[in-house]
Structures are given as structure tokens and as C-alpha cells.
Symmetry: C2
Subunit: 348 residues, 2 copies
Amino acid sequence: KHIAVLSGDGIGPEVTAQALKVLKAVGEVYGHEFAYKEALVGACAIDATGNPFPEETEQVCQQADAILFGAIGHPKYDNDPKAKVRPEQGLLAMRKKLGLFSNVRPVKSYKALLPISPLKEEIIDGTDFVVFRELTGGIYFGQPRGRSEDGKNAFDTCAYSTDEITRVSRLAFEAAQNRRKKVTLVDKANVLATSRLWRETVKELVSEYPDVELDFMFVDNAAMKIIQNPRDFDVVLTENMFGDIITDEASVISGSLGMLPSASIGLNQSLYEPIHGSYPQAAGKNIANPFGAILSAAMLLEYSFGMIEESKAINDAVMQAMDEGFVTEDINKDQAKGTEEVGDHVTE
Amino acid sequence: KHIAVLSGDGIGPEVTAQALKVLKAVGEVYGHEFAYKEALVGACAIDATGNPFPEETEQVCQQADAILFGAIGHPKYDNDPKAKVRPEQGLLAMRKKLGLFSNVRPVKSYKALLPISPLKEEIIDGTDFVVFRELTGGIYFGQPRGRSEDGKNAFDTCAYSTDEITRVSRLAFEAAQNRRKKVTLVDKANVLATSRLWRETVKELVSEYPDVELDFMFVDNAAMKIIQNPRDFDVVLTENMFGDIITDEASVISGSLGMLPSASIGLNQSLYEPIHGSYPQAAGKNIANPFGAILSAAMLLEYSFGMIEESKAINDAVMQAMDEGFVTEDINKDQAKGTEEVGDHVTE
Ligand SMILES: CC(C)[C@H](C(=O)O)[C@@H](O)C(=O)O
Ligand SMILES: CC(C)[C@H](C(=O)O)[C@@H](O)C(=O)O
């Protein structure tokens, strides 16, 4: 099994290093051979090649069976209005070129983290849902987009085809079949033509999944309900922009961004990354939470390689590490362990 | 002073009736004469005229100095896929025709409601910010929008001009000058051309408000921060769609939707409405929370008539009613009072 490793910027490399240690241990215990190939992405790729998603990197990804991704972004590009290339463009180019059409984000409450969530324990305890966000369409990529000649008007286009809607929706329905059998489509069908196409298309599909219940929720209402009754959700299905907002909103439930893994399902291979971003202020300080990266590796094993048991072993090891107090400062300020120590403990 | 009264559907009429009682009392105490004219909007207007925002209603609004609005929406239209006219279309037509370009939503935590918020007390206590949402532009109204001929593609256009951005932004800056002097522009400038126009336009304006600090936040990040650190915000400025999501998300902070008023600032006259919607299940049961409507009347006095003291008197009366336990079942299940009783108590 070939794994492309794109550790990226900021804390990306150090958390990815922990995930690699864990994968190595899994390989040894279960007798798998994983081959790794590293490649540049993000700010470090701009520095080296001028391109945040260089062709070499694209090739490394195309030739791999799965991609382990760290994080990208660097303040020097955020604060430079003249910067022509930005790390984020690499991310969007990568999604488009690799056809990473569905972002999958599990949202869970962790017992050990209940005290640090901004939400009340009785609201979030037992939360367990997963968001399927369409990732290569909508207003992120629709044409035309830009400025009028006089510069006084700007426009973006949100566009969707039934095919784009169908492929991500199928993944959501299939996931629901293995879960609590409920899909909630989040849209704005009372305003948007694209949302009405989503509703129609998804409604037609549901007959193929007779065991799954489908319901609809306007995005503004969903933004409330996710905070008020997070336990009510099982599988959330939504378009790109709403998914961007809803997934980040939902990430506060668990109490630490550092915990949360994600998968981006691709046409040929899928990509796995912690959701936390490059967090440059923490880079090199051995304080970043490696659980998101480690749990992303677990998702990789399950989704790309069908290694359910191996994936579960990683999940269990993370839970155990939390129970034993092997956590970084985002989870326990007073008795924090380092990134490395936590990674080593999970590996063991 | 002429006030158009559009009480609408569901619980709209009963909560508006309480607001009118309170306005009448204010008129008597402070020696103002308010003249009211009622008009139809929403489902009841469709039933009577086939149009959710009839011309007569538009005229009543145009001739008024301010508009008091209840709520619109009825399940019979939500669940009828063949319904050609929907109450929501009336809302959008009204916003466009009356030029209601800026929706203003205060977000506050109320001591008495801390126990019923899904968020932890230490997170929300002391929250006090206000969202300025652009209300007549963006993806709600941009052209073209619709379907391809074969019906397999749909598209919406998000469009903004510098003028549209400037007028709502000025209101936000002016509000900040009377508050804690901080404006946070929420956008998605790393992806959208319209967001980049927002950033540029707002950056140019800030020099005219030297006492105000301006910062920028991506909408996904804002969706987290509003839950994690709501006290950090003072004035939030954003475009139509992001504002729709962010304001509803923020509304969970206070613990009850029923509490929250809003203003929609218009070119000639402004409209005031509780944010809670028509809540048809509660209609006619004397259980709806009238505070949102009453506080909307207070906003009307302040924003449209410059009656600061009168507005404050209403706010104080609502606080006192809460302290004295005159609250509806959304706030206190066990010792709830009725809509009427609460309205009467505030009026007294
Ligand atoms: C960096 C940005 C372009 C990106 C997005 O909006 O998709 C990020 O927020 C994400 O969710 O991965
Ligand atoms: C009913 C709907 C069209 C409306 C909107 O999206 O603006 C509502 O959600 C609101 O916020 O007033």
C-alpha cells in the first residue's frame, strides 16, 4: 500500500510524524507493509517551487493508494495583500485535480473533553454524527466569477449538476445504512435554485435506500439545531459552502479542534487530514495535539484500505491515551504532555 | 407618527398585539400619538389576495414612518411542492421593494436565561454584540439564477456592488462608535470575489471612522468563535447569506429565540420584527413569548423615532418582568405565564 505524505506547513509536519509512527506500529502488529512518499504542499511548496500544489506533488498523489495530509497556511501569505499565490489555492487546486468530491467529518463528544466544551454536558454528551460536505462544486468553483471592468461590482457563481449531487449523496446514504439510518439534507431551498436541485435529486435517490429516512433542514435552522440538539443528527449532507460553515461550527462540540479527523473522498484515491489547520504560533513547540492526525490515519485505514480492525485499534489507543491523561495542553492545561510523548504513548 | 402593523401568520398576531399594548402605554406616559394601520402579509395575504406581499400592503408601508412586523409562514405552503406562491417570497419581495438593506440583530445573554442556554454560563455571561446583515443583495437576489434547459444543472449568482456594501457598512461603523468601537467583517475572502470586494470597500471606509477598530474573520472561523468566545464580538458586519446563518446560530446564545428582536433598516422607513418566526404549532394557545415583539417595538422607538428614553423604558420593563417571573413556557416550563399576562405585566 502506497501512502503519499503531504505534511505541509506549521504544525502539519509534527502531527503527521505522530500519525506515521502509529501507522508503522499497526503495520508491524498486523503484518502490513506501507510505503510512504513525501511531497510538498502549501506555503513550503510555494517557497520551494512557486506553486502551492506542484506537479510533482500531484503525481505522487495520483500514484498513491491514499494521501495523508497535515495542514497548510502561513501568516506571511495571509498578511501580504500583494501575494499572488496563496497556500489555500493549493488546497482548492488539489481538491479539483484529485477529484476529492466529498469531505467526511465525524463529530463526536468525548467524555474526557466534556469539561472543556463551550456547550453544556447534558446537551452534547452522546453526540455522534458525520457531515458529508460536497467539496469540488458550488460557489467555490462556479464560473463566471470576478469583477466588472470598473471594479465596482463583483460576482461569484454557485453551480451544481445532478451528477455532482448524486455521487456525494450516495456516500451519505451508504454511511447512514451503517449508522442510525437518517440523512439530513441541509440547504436553502426557499431561496436558492441550486438548493432546489439538491432537494429534487436527493429525493429521487432515497428510494434506492429504503431503510434510510431523509429529512430536510434550512441551513439557518441547522446552524441553530446543531448547537441545541446535536444528538438529533446522524448523517448530515450538504453543499460546499454550507458544509464549510456547518462543519467548523460543529467542531466546537467536542471541545478541541485538535481532536478531529477528516476524510476527503476522491475519484481514485482519498485524502485524510486533521481539521485543525497549520496553527503557526504552535509550530515547533511540541504542544500541538496529534490526535486529529492520528485519527485521520485511522480513517485512512478504514476507508481506503478496508482495515476495520486496525482502524479500531488506533481509535481505542487514542481513547486509552486520553483516559490515562496523555493529552496536550489544549485538553489539559495543567498537566499537558508534549506532542511527541502523546504520539509515542498511542504508538505503544 | 404612523406605524404600519403587519402581524402576519401563526403567533405573529398575538405577539404583535402585546407590542401594541406596550406602545400604547408608552404613548400615554410620554405624550406621543401613534397611528396604526394594519395590512396583510404572508400566508394570510396569499389566502386573501393570492399575493404574499400585496400592493395595498406595500402602500401602507410606504406611507408609514415605521413598520411593526409579526411573522410569516404556514405549514400548508411548506409541504405543498406545487404551491406556486410561498409566504417567504413575500418576505423577499418586501425587503427588495422597501429597500430594507440592513438587518440589525442584537445578541445578548440574559441573566435569567443563563440556565436554559445550551452554552455554558461562563462562556456566554456578559455577551453583547450586534450583527449587521446586508439584506437586499448577494446570492438572494443576484442574476442569473435558475436551471439549464435539460434541468440537470442549476445555478445562483452572488453579486455585490461597492454602493451596496458601503451603505450597510456605514451603519455598522456608526453603531460601533456608540458601542465598544470594534467591527468584525465576516466573509470568505480566501475563496469569493464578492468577499474580496467587501474587504476592499470596508477597508477604505474605516479611515472615516478613526476611533473604530476593524478586523476580518472568515465565516467558517466566525461560526466557531461565536460559540467559543461570544464576548469577543462587538459589531459583526456581513453579507446576506452568511448573515442568515450567523444570526440564527448566534440566537442560541440567549437560550430562547422568543426573546430576540430585530430591525431591518430601509431607505425610507424601517421594519421591526421578532426573529422567532410564525411557530404555527403554538398559534392561538397563548403560550408564545411576546418579548421578541415587545423589544422590537422598543427598537422601533429608538431607531425610527429617536425616542431613546421610551425605548429604554420598554427594555427595563421587560427585564423587570423577567425578574418577577412573568415569562412564558420557553423560559420557565414549570411556572409559565401566558402571552397575554406577560404582555399586560410589561404594559403596566
Ligand atoms: C482554506 C479554505 C479555502 C478551506 C475551505 O473553505 O474549504 C478551509 O476552510 C476548509 O474547510 O478546508
Ligand atoms: C425565510 C427566509 C427566506 C429568510 C432569509 O433567509 O432571509 C429567513 O431565514 C430570515 O432570516 O429572515
